[in-house]
Amino acid sequence: MPPILEVKNLIKTFKTVTAVNGISFTIPPGICFGLLGPNGAGKTTALEVIEGITSPSGGEILFNGAPQTEAFREEVGIQFQHTTLLDFLTVRNTLETFRALYRDPESMEHLVETCNLAEILDHMNNKISGGQSQRLMLALALLNKPRLIFLDEPSTGLDPQARRNLWEIVRAIKEDGKTIILTTHSMDEAEYLCDEIAIMDHGTIIAQGSPPELIRRYCRGGIISLPRANITIPLSQLPLPYKEVNGRVEMTTETIDQGLKILMSKGFDLSDISVHSPDLEDVFLNLTGRKLRE
């Protein structure tokens, strides 16, 4: 299938800052594509340029193989990271107002059901919780039956339950066959929702692929950790590379499976063992030497 979106060497500079410095990617229809990176990486800026909210300083953006036309606004849905809604409107007023701006809006029932808004329909925009507000913003991004949906940090600032709840909604949207681009600085979110991830840092994409691919490519093995007390031989004689952390010994291994086999064959006491398989956080750490959240 031809890609729904192609971004070629996109650049965006503000007066002195180059927020996006030549990024390129291609998104086939029907997937959830994630821009993962720490705060300030340039995710929001990149997204807003692609959305046509701000103009690019360089590069090319093709939607369905062509530059944006008037119809673009009717075909994409956008959830911004920082927006407020009109004062003194209820959730229902807000949905109705925005629906009326589009040619072929989604039905009210479907929106309310998808985004779970039934019990707050008559509340004022500014009298709803963070999670409810985020669901309303999501509903606004869906109300023109878009083919392509942009979500900028959809779950940032939500409590774990509200976060889960939102993830389920995003999954349901994906199952509807929509294409989603989301940004996040949470590797859980990226791993849970995205089929393909571009890791961004300082305005550039430093790695791209599906989560398992990225982990395979950038992380060697896993970590097996045992209490220091379990180990009776001198540490220097351990069969695996190790370091001591807070009364435990952490050993690095090519694969967890292989590491466990070695330890068992040497008769180590494996009680209280903990095992860590590499994740996207480690990918970022290995690529940049920094953690995602600073």
Binding site: E51, E70, R73, E74, F80, H82, N93, L101, Y102
Partner: protein
């Protein structure tokens, strides 16, 4: 352009106006309070005659049957007599300017006191003295001028209405749109098919509608309380206020075209509002002001709105007689709309 989109944004803006209880009440209360305030201040300061203290008298109301005062003095209109028990009380009141003149009435010839510095006391003394002189034939020929007196209130009222319209336009369009640009509401709207032209048209129409609505409510209220008099035609007056509302709203639109700083915009708003408040003759006439001040005032739309409105309300002018001011209002509207449309930005 989509009329439907203009209509929903118009409705949304009106919701905000009617649901913002605090601002809503203020919109109507503010002009009322000013008008009521001035009615009271000027009602009290109207010429109320001279106060003449009289002693000894056991009551405030004086029994004139057995006094030494001439009938002619007692019956002078605009003289008010107040009784005091003794000289000390009367003198105290006199010194405090609470009365203008003090007379002792139980002596064969009256004794009187007046403050050296008081012009009112001097005038009462002249009246008092002449009351003892026998009546002559009146000198000169008297002509009575008839007609409605124009109260300060009748002159001030259109000023207050215009000022209210001005604030409503500048804050309700200029400030609100800048705030929405700052907090991202405009960005959210930009992401929809809504165009800048549709959005700003809706803002302008909504504000215009609300100005007229406010004007009618305030008018009816003021008319009930102070019976507002319109010498000319109400239709002509409506046309003038409509043109005025449009031109002030378009100034608001121009201010709303750019900017994300509420502080800067409120500064700019005051920078426009204050000169209009003082130079457009809201409160007082610029008669006698230097020529350059008058010239500058001609640039301000409120000047033309108020001049035309007063001309119609107070002097009964026709629309044709105020056509110059109407033209000025139309030109302001067009200039501000074109500039505003050219400068407009959703983002910054």
């Amino acid at each position: 352009m989509s009329l439907k989109r203009i209509w929903v944004m118009f409705k949304a803006r009106n919701y905000e106006f009617f649901r913002d209880k605090a601002a809503f009440g203020w919109n109507f209360l503010f002009p009322f309070l000013i008008i009521a305030g001035f009615a009271i201040i000027f009602g009290g300061r109207d010429f109320s005659g001279f106060k003449v203290g009289v002693f000894p008298s056991t009551t405030k109301q004086i029994d004139f049957t057995s006094t030494n005062l001439p009938e002619k003095f007692i019956t002078t209109t605009h003289l008010e007599f107040i009784g005091f028990p003794d000289q000390a009380t009367g003198l105290k009141k006199l010194k405090h300017h609470q009365i203008d003149f003090l007379i002792r009435i139980d002596t064969p010839t009256p004794l009187y006191w007046q403050l050296d510095s008081s012009p009112k006391g001097y005038l009462v003394e002249r009246l008092f003295q002449s009351a003892f002189v026998p009546e002559n034939n009146p000198y000169g020929t008297k002509e009575i001028v008839e007609g409605r007196e124009i109260r300060y209130l009748d002159w001030l009222f259109p000023g207050i209405l215009g000022m209210n319209m001005m604030f409503s336009a500048l804050w309700g369009v200029g400030y609100v749109v800048v705030r929405y640009r700052k907090n991202g509401v405009l960005k959210r709207l930009k992401a929809t098919p809504l165009t800048a032209f549709e959005y700003m048209t809706a803002q302008a129409l909504s504000r215009f509608f609300l100005q007229i609505f406010t004007l009618i409510v305030v008018w009816i209220g003021a008319d009930l309380l102070f019976s507002i008099h319109v010498e000319g035609s109400l239709v002509a007056l409506s046309v003038v206020f409509a043109l005025g509302g449009l031109s002030l709203t378009s100034v608001g639109l121009l201010l709303a075209a750019r900017g994300t700083s509420e502080e800067f915009t409120s500064g700019a708003l005051n920078f426009i509002a204050w000169p209009m408040m003082f130079l457009s003759e809201v409160w007082f006439s610029l008669e006698g002001a230097p020529q350059w001040v008058k010239g500058f005032a001609e640039v301000l739309p409120l000047t033309h709105l108020l001049r035309a409105a007063r001309h119609i309300m107070n002097d009964g002018a026709t629309l044709a007689q105020v056509s110059g001011d109407c033209l000025a209002l139309i030109i302001t509207t067009l200039i501000c709309l074109v500039l505003g449309a050219t400068l407009f930005s959703w983002n910054d």
